[in-house]
């Protein structure tokens, strides 16, 4: 039935001609007549009472149109929403005002918004606002914040613990009693700044008369923005149009509702002027959500053959000063359900404490919860291997969920893995890296006194975030289905409307390939539309590697509805029954008689002229589908990292990096490889480069790109990739998702390699970031001993 295979063709991206010629259309490129610029004055203190805000001098400055403080906005807009509130977690959601009203709680908390004729003038005026603060005690680390007597951010949140989440399965205590080996380890997963190259921002334009708010913003999920904006501003959803077309990267940091978007929107409504607000990078570093920031205490029970029989995790997640939109879901559900990784661990218990501190709020960052879980379990595998003197690959194989055990329910029963063959990816990776030779090379290097290490990560992840019933059960305030409309035009051209909202993942191309596979329409005749809530049906957006697995499936099902209708119309035109025709390469012909054919264009025209329709068939070729899968997808793979550490400088250099991933069927291998490349770089960077550092006063020391180190072209070498294919049974294409795989896999792979390199010095564990200075300190101290 399928015209041509949608799989395996690396066609060039259709998005690119615009983007390589400077014709992209990002939020900052929006220009409207009468548009004003907004600058937000932000608190330089991490915790303070606002005693007084004097805007008089600022208001008198040239070009200034208006200045709003937190108090001015109270009646105009509700607090920034927290939309993921896990059940049974005793969650307390503190009020998060878009501009602080009485108290600022982190460096960067909004204090006043200035609108002026241009941004230079707005900044001049913001600098002239005189705010008197009465500073309060500050706490920045989650473990400190939980202690009795610690500074309290809110009276309503005792000990700053916003929630406590618990998940368990099996009998953990019994497992620890029978185990040959038990041990504890603390793992620190440091705070990161997402650094999408395009900062966050918005252009809000409220029209008098139509009373419609048009909001251009750089979001991963325009419908969620519209939904929440309506709730926060009382503007009916029917009167809000959110536009989010070219997005300069998201990595999770463009999921959450942004205070700036809300402020711009209500000020536009108040002034009846279009308002533009774009963060500059320094502002982005404090005002857009950060990622990770966990302290994880793990206890492991293992048998002497390497089998892990029990796992207890107590995690302390630093949520920052407020609970951002999706934030509580990240360290709870997204973290705990993949904690056993690719391994059949029958007894698992997790406790997660979400702690408020005087820092920028954290939320999703590429992988969101799953990198933390994968880092934990992959370090555990290496620790078990080390303590039992086994090869790390053997310990992994000993614990792998066997390929015939799928679907596989994790110990808590909270989720079931779709399909997998974990030995296969590991076999291939070992073959590519020539494992035996590599260990010999390592022996030789060690004999020469060099620090040379090999690290593995045989990760799994949960992707294709869905289904909606699970979302509801998890306390996620929305659905997780995805939508698509396939609209065939009378000329035979096709428009696809999709609820997903890519930020470079290439769905403008892969969705055309999918549709070409379903309907045989040439790719160049297909337009993929996203990012306009007035055009697209309700959809939940792009995150959690869900776009193709969920949104692509919706598209396939909508296309199949179109195809069925075209077969009916084609058969009618050919004067045979629908059972007597086949849909082939975009046309309909009589079975066994390819010359008795109606082309795609002929049928499309017939559907719209409707002169001659089969009985009971309505005019038009315009079908929609809302796809809600029965379960998630579970990509997996084996990554191997080889590092060598320069003892003198402490710098760890990646010598080789092999990645064998299984993301199910692959539509466009070039795009999939690109996702893996970028993901690996981002994960490696967490391990050796990136860290958001606060001082004890809550000042962000890594406050600009001069101090926060994101990878450069020279940071890492080429990656060697291969794939296996184990289709997912839960969606029509058998695909799993690939956006986060590289990031999730690579952090533990390199950290395991670094620890392996340092193991001749007696090192069993080393926390991130493995910066040159920290490695040197370790080497230096060992020498000293």
């Amino acid at each position: 039935m399928v015209a041509s295979s949608p799989f395996g063709s690396s066609i060039k991206r259709r998005e690119d001609p615009r983007l390589i010629t400077g014709a992209g259309h990002y939020t900052d490129d929006v220009r409207l007549p009468g548009m004003l610029s907004m600058a937000i004055l932000r608190s330089p203190h991490a915790h303070a009472r606002i005693v007084n805000i004097d805007t008089s001098a600022a208001k008198a400055m040239p070009g200034v149109v208006a200045i709003y403080t937190g108090a001015d906005l109270v009646d105009l807009v509700a607090p920034v929403p927290c939309a993921w509130q896990p059940k049974n977690s005793d969650i307390k959601v503190p009020e998060y005002r878009p501009l602080a009203v009485d108290t600022v709680r982190y460096v960067g908390d909004g204090v006043a918004a200035v609108v002026a004729e241009n941004r230079y003038m707005a900044e001049d005026a913001a600098a002239a606002i005189n705010v008197q603060y009465d500073t309060l005690p500050v706490v920045v680390h989650q473990l400190d914040a939980m202690k009795d007597g610690a500074p309290q951010l809110y009276d309503s949140v005792p000990n700053n613990v916003a929630f406590h989440f618990h998940l368990e399965g099996g009998d953990v205590d019994a497992a620890f009693q029978k185990a040959d080996l038990t041990f504890k380890q603390r793992l620190v997963n440091q705070r990161l700044i997402p650094n999408a190259m395009e900062t966050r921002g918005a252009v809000a334009s409220y029209q008098r008369g139509s009373n419609e708010l048009t909001l251009w913003c750089t979001t991963q999920n325009p419908h969620i923005v519209r939904f929440l904006m309506s709730l926060c501003t009382n503007i009916p959803e029917t009167q809000i149009r959110v536009l989010s077309q070219d997005i300069g990267g998201g990595f999770g940091s463009k999921i959450a509702m942004q205070a700036g978007e809300m402020i711009a929107s209500v000020i536009s409504k108040d002034l009846l002027r279009p308002i533009k607000w774009m963060e500059d990078r320094s502002e982005n570093y404090v005002s857009t959500t950060h990622g990770r920031d966990h302290v994880d205490d793990v206890e492991v029970a293992a048998m002497k053959d390497g089998r892990v029989v029990g796992l207890k995790v107590t995690a302390y997640a630093n949520m920052g000063a407020y609970l951002s939109t999706a934030a509580p879901g990240v360290p709870t559900w997204l973290f705990t359900v993949t904690q056993s990784g690719a391994y059949d661990i029958p007894n698992v218990a997790s406790d997660v404490y979400g702690v408020l501190t005087n820092t920028t709020a954290t939320d999703a960052y590429r992988g969101a919860g799953r990198p933390e879980a994968t880092y934990l379990i992959e370090r555990v595998m290496d620790l078990v291997a080390k303590k039992l003197n086994l090869d790390p690959t053997e310990v992994r194989r000993k614990n792998f969920i066997p390929s015939d055990a799928f679907p596989y329910s994790i110990a808590s029963g909270a989720i079931a893995y779709d399909s997998g063959d974990y030995d296969k990816t590991l076999d291939r990776a070992l073959e590519m890296i020539d494992y035996a030779a590599l260990r010999k090379e390592q022996e030789q290097a060690r004999a020469e006194g060099r620090l040379f290490g090999v690290g593995f990560s045989t990760y799994i992840e949960v992707c294709g975030l869905a289904p909606s019933a699970a979302a509801g059960a998890m306390g996620f305030g929305g659905g997780l289905y995805e939508s698509a409309v396939v609209r065939v035009h009378p000329t035979g051209k096709v428009t696809v409307l999709t609820g997903i909202n890519p930020q470079g993942q290439g769905e403008g191309t892969t969705f055309a390939q999918l549709l070409n596979g379903e309907l045989g329409v040439p790719v160049e005749d297909i337009e993929i539309v996203w990012g306009d809530t007035d055009r697209i049906p309700m959809g939940w957006g792009t995150y959690g590697s869900r776009s193709t697995a969920v949104g692509g499936s919706a598209l396939v099902f909508a296309a199949r509805k179109v195809r069925d209708k075209m077969m009916k119309i084609g058969a009618h035109l050919l004067e045979v029954s629908p059972e007597e025709v086949v849909f082939d390469q975009g046309s309909v012909h009589v079975k066994g008689a390819p010359d008795q054919v109606k082309s795609f264009g002929e049928i499309a025209l017939a559907a719209y002229t409707a002169w001659n329709m089969p009985e009971g068939v309505t005019p038009g070729l315009d079908e929609s589908y809302f796809f809600d899968p029965v379960s998630n997808t579970f990509p997996f793979g084996a990554h191997v990292c080889v590092v060598e550490i320069d003892k003198d400088s402490g710098k760890a250099d990646v010598r080789r990096y092999v990645a064998v991933d299984d993301v199910g069927n692959v539509i466009n291998p070039m795009i999939v490889d690109g996702q893996i490349h970028g993901g690996i770089a981002q994960g490696l960077a967490q391990a050796v480069l990136e860290t958001a550092v606060y001082d004890d006063n809550g000042q962000l020391l890594s406050g600009t790109m001069m101090d926060y180190a994101i990878p450069k072209a020279s940071s890492f070498p080429n990656y060697e990739l291969d794939r296996t294919v184990t289709p997912c049974p839960f969606n029509p294409m058998g695909l799993k998702g690939v956006g986060e795989a590289g990031t999730i896999a690579s952090t533990p792979a390199i950290m395991n390699a670094i620890v392996d390199a340092l193991s001749p010095l007696g090192v069993e564990h080393f926390d991130m970031p493995a910066s040159p200075q920290r490695i040197w300190q370790l080497v230096h101290e060992q020498k000293g001993n």
Binding site: P44, T135, S282, Y285, Q699, L700, G703
Partner: protein, 147 residues
């Protein structure tokens, strides 16, 4: 940011003590002080011009001396804010008799630097702070010995 250090002044302890807690002496010796006015018991308002290269700014704020144990130790609280950001710090200054009627000064404090200057200039802040402290004690010494 922690600031700790030691300095030896070639003058006896009681003289040094007198200088260190004397507002006129502080105003005269602390680099960049433009005004220093008494606003309460051992509390002064202050305007200072501090520059790290081209990162220059005038900071206005206050200084408070407390827990004074003459001539052994006292605590100092400083806060100031200006266009490039703000500074706020507390520290303890300890004096002890050194050899040959010199005075050994030991200081340690914790200074918060916030706003744009804190995020950008942190690699230089330690250097600036130490330079200013050094200049201050050097100046105090020359004022005493020059008398």
């Amino acid at each position: 940011m922690k600031i700790t250090g030691k300095h030896t002044i070639n003058a006896p302890r009681d003289q040094v003590w007198g200088r260190l807690i004397d507002p006129d002496s502080i105003a005269a010796c602390l680099p960049g002080v433009e005004t220093l006015d008494k606003v309460g018991d051992d509390e002064y308002s202050m305007a200072m011009n501090i520059g790290i290269g081209m990162v220059k700014g005038t900071y206005t704020g206050k200084v408070r001396l407390s827990n004074m144990n003459e001539p052994t130790d006292y605590q100092m609280y400083v806060e100031g804010s200006g266009r490039p950001g703000f500074i706020k710090g507390t520290g303890t200054v300890r004096l002890a008799d050194g050899e040959n009627s010199t005075t050994d000064i030991e200081y340690n404090g914790d200074v918060e630097v916030g706003g744009p200057v804190g995020a950008v200039a942190q690699r230089m802040l330690g250097g600036v702070a130490n330079r200013m402290v050094g200049q201050f004690f050097g100046c105090v010494e020359s004022k005493i010995t020059g008398e």
